[in-house]
Symmetry: C2
Subunit: 347 residues, 2 copies
């Protein structure tokens, strides 16, 4: 029952932009995450943020929390192709993992939130996720629970501090503690040459030579900007529609970032996903249409890089990806303030 | 981030049957719970049981776990009048708290399960709760997740040990650790006469004199056998139908234990609920029709004992009930084994 210390203050680390292996530099995952200057991580914020993250009372039915789809007892997602929100409604995209999300340059599959703080304001008011009417109604629910006042004051000072900006800051502060360091890969690049198997080392090499690092760069293997998914193949091969990537994996169904920007060049563009802890986040892709890592590696190599990997190469890369499974920190379960009897949730 | 030690072996305590205050004996809550002789509590079982308790993958949609309705970040229930299961379906009864459920003589509102072990086999196969086809399908899901095998073997020995009986035993073992000792009342009855306020002491006296202890006896105030709810008033006052207890609180709508036994004398009979941590378990009664403790105390006194409590008496009793809020033990969050990509859940 060991517990992991929470980093109280984290510096602004320059993580983005450095391509893995391009200059031969493979990077280990930092043990702390960068925080924006207007939201330094503090223990009080992390405590409050964890409570809010676990609290289902901010959904219309009182049954869906951040934790419901970003399950931190699992891979930080929900093991379903796409998630279930209030009233049993099924969403359109696979829940991205919250583990190491602090290292993403943008949030959501289409990168529409620039920060964890902005991301946290989305799901509560999404009709098929938490289903609240608006952010005012969400804050109304928090205010309805008297026990939260003291926790907000501990994190943000005395006064009228229960508001959505602060709630989002607290949730983001908690999420910045959700880091999984010390994978076999991390130990390897820090100098323990026995940490990875021969196959994993070979897979790392194949991964780089195939060109995967062009997008999956940085210590979290999640790149530094929006990168195309499907774009490469789609642009080079106009016969992509009607192929297995269209019919079986349905990669053309979702407009991706274009649905946000309305730019044709953003069609099927998605934020680059982290490759850490993939063993815990099946099924894969934005629509959860791929069940195995072997399949995912093959489809990515073909659709992004127009490369047909041999079975042995796939197996080596998958072995390498297994080396990216880190250690999930021990967490204590929060204890939430009691519900007043007149807190109304819908059926 | 202190953690509470898990009791590894607990004795068979004789808890049932001793009426509180009948002989002047008020009892503190034990710090360990009795376990049946065929399921002694062990750390390996508790570890496994906590994982299973938190795991939503044993529901048809992969979205509902024991934790969904028996939320141990809250009062061990779900703060809703009645719970929500798979496909957004709304159940018929209020989720009973799992905190101190180890001290119940029977489980479910209608007492249809004699033990925590038997109770755990109910919700997975309830069509509006976890919605699995049958217990074989539930065990099939567990077997589909390879990481569970080692945890079952650690708890139950090598071999073919992944089965529903063992899963239920593990969940029950975990639930036996969900105890909230050290309330103001507990400290008071152990000798700290300053632990309760004057009003709480007065309320304790009013509670006993009113006759509440006839049913709400024992250290968890949950009695020792099925006790009538509504029966007293109903039998003495045939005009009960059409009264506010019928129209507003809908106490006649649910047949209670009679739905299980088909005996007319079991109509509106329910297992006596614990009175511990009531501040955390609003709304109240089997149908969640009562929003405040004041209201609940008044309605109970009238319908069970035909007593019209004065407002001051109600306030004193509610103050006493507040003294029954205990300490929730710190818990570490379990980390669940990864999901294979071909684990199929329905939408």
């Amino acid at each position: 029952m060991k517990t992991r210390c929470i980093p109280l203050m984290v510096g602004m680390l320059a993580l983005a932009g450095s391509a893995i292996a391009a200059d031969g530099q493979w990077q280990a995952l930092p043990e702390t995450a960068p925080a924006p200057s207007d939201n330094p991580t503090t223990e009080a914020k992390v405590t409050l943020g964890k409570m809010l993250f676990f609290d289902p009372r901010f959904s219309s039915t009182g049954s869906i929390s951040c934790f419901s789809c970003h399950n931190v007892t699992e891979g930080g997602d929900d093991h379903r192709p796409t998630s279930i929100g209030v009233h049993g409604q099924v969403g359109g995209r696979n829940a991205p993992t919250v583990w190491n999300a602090a290292f993403n340059s943008a949030q959501f599959w289409d990168g529409r939130a620039p920060s964890l703080e902005e991301q946290a304001k989305g799901p509560p008011v999404n009709a098929i996720e938490m289903g609240m009417k608006d952010l005012d109604a969400t804050v109304g629910r928090i205010k309805k629970i008297p026990g939260y006042q003291a926790h907000f004051e501990a994190a943000f000072g005395k006064g009228d501090v229960v508001n959505m900006d602060n709630a989002a800051k607290a949730i983001a502060a908690y999420e910045r503690t959700l880091i999984t360091p010390n994978s076999a890969y991390d130990r390897y690049v820090k100098g323990d040459k026995k940490a990875m198997t021969e196959q994993q080392v070979r897979g790392m090499d194949t991964f780089a030579k195939t060109g995967c690092t062009a997008c999956h760069s940085g210590p979290a293997f999640n790149g530094s900007q929006n990168m195309p998914m499907g774009q490469g193949f789609f642009m080079k091969f106009p016969t992509f529609p009607g192929s297995v990537y269209d019919t079986q994996y349905r990669l053309l169904e979702d407009q991706g970032r274009a649905a946000v920007t309305n730019k044709p060049e953003d069609k099927q563009m998605y934020r680059v996903q982290t490759l850490r802890n993939l063993a815990y986040t099946a099924p894969y892709f934005h629509n959860g249409s791929l069940k195995s890592l072997d399949e995912a590696v093959k489809v990515m190599a073909k659709t992004q890089l127009n490369k047909d990997l041999k079975d042995d190469e796939v197996k080596d890369i998958v072995a390498f990806l297994d080396a990216l499974n880190g250690e999930f920190p021990k967490q204590t379960l929060p204890q939430l303030p009691p519900t007043p009897g007149d807190l109304i949730t819908e059926n």
